[in-house]
């Protein structure tokens, strides 16, 4: 699926990187612990998280992930959005909670890594 599909499944708002919505997504990871994310290997993956500090963007950068989705009530600040912009990432925001957001993407065919 593409980032656009992810956005539609989650009724998400695009905060950064509208121009990259045609990118392909091949896997997903949902976590608030960055080293858990860093243990995961999947190309073209996306991260769902409730953590809002700059290390989220750095983790995504190190992993070559393409998108971060902030779940319900977790607002990234301007610094985080600017970092994402500089790195050519897409940032989405959804009103769904973590469990539901992951479930909806799983239903749509997206899988986690190993």
């Amino acid at each position: 699926m593409t980032l656009k599909d992810v956005q539609m499944v989650l009724d998400a708002r695009v905060l950064v990187g509208e121009e990259h919505l045609d990118r392909e997504v091949r896997g997903a990871c949902g976590s608030d612990m960055m080293s858990d994310v860093l243990a995961f290997s999947h190309d073209h993956a996306i991260l769902l998280t409730g953590l809002t500090n700059p290390q989220v963007i750095r983790t995504v950068e190190m992993m070559d992930m393409v998108c971060v989705i902030f779940i319900r009530g977790k607002k990234p600040d301007a610094t985080i959005l600017q970092m994402a912009r500089e790195r050519g990432l897409t940032v989405l925001e959804t009103d769904h909670r973590m469990f539901n957001a992951c479930g909806m993407l799983y239903d749509a065919g997206l899988r986690g890594g190993h």
């Binding site: 080293s35 860093l38 290390q55 750095r58 610094t79």
Partner: protein, 140 residues
């Protein structure tokens, strides 16, 4: 041997939000040098985990990165408290990080195991009250 490039970074002690800048810089340098993406990612992840550890467990330190045609070698040196039991620290899930670090997204006890997993060689030298030096290499 002359085609070795060396970079040195200071990792500041008390600035969590800037932790990872060194790893980010190395990552973009390796990309510019045309290093295979898979190797770039391994270096980036291993160094980033080490850099974060230096900030949250060891009051910062210095990182030296040597890039040669056949490998990338990272040396992370700190003057922190040292690691009392390295075998224990290497276990997945072992962490001494307090709650305030966990709230920042770290402290899963996965950093050192990740560093081992993503590198071809890893060596830890540590002395209590003196500091820790971690050397990692990724073959190209």
């Amino acid at each position: 041997m002359d085609d070795k490039i060396v970079f040195t970074y200071d990792v500041p002690a008390d600035d969590f939000s800037r932790a990872g800048e060194a790893s980010s810089d190395v990552k973009s340098k390796l990309k510019q040098l045309g290093t295979p993406p898979d190797a770039v990612r391994k270096v980036a992840i291993a160094m980033y985990e080490g850099e974060i550890n230096m900030v949250i467990h060891a009051n910062g330190g210095t990182i030296t990165v040597e890039i040669s045609p056949r490998q990338v070698r990272m040396v992370l040196r700190d003057r922190g408290p040292g690691i009392p039991d390295v075998d224990l620290a290497m276990q997945e899930g072992y962490s001494t990080a307090p709650d305030e670090i966990r709230n920042l997204g770290f402290g899963a006890g996965m950093g050192l195991p990740n560093m081992k997993k993503y590198t071809d060689e890893m060596h830890i030298e540590t002395e209590l009250g003196v500091g820790t030096t971690i050397t990692m290499t990724v073959n190209l």
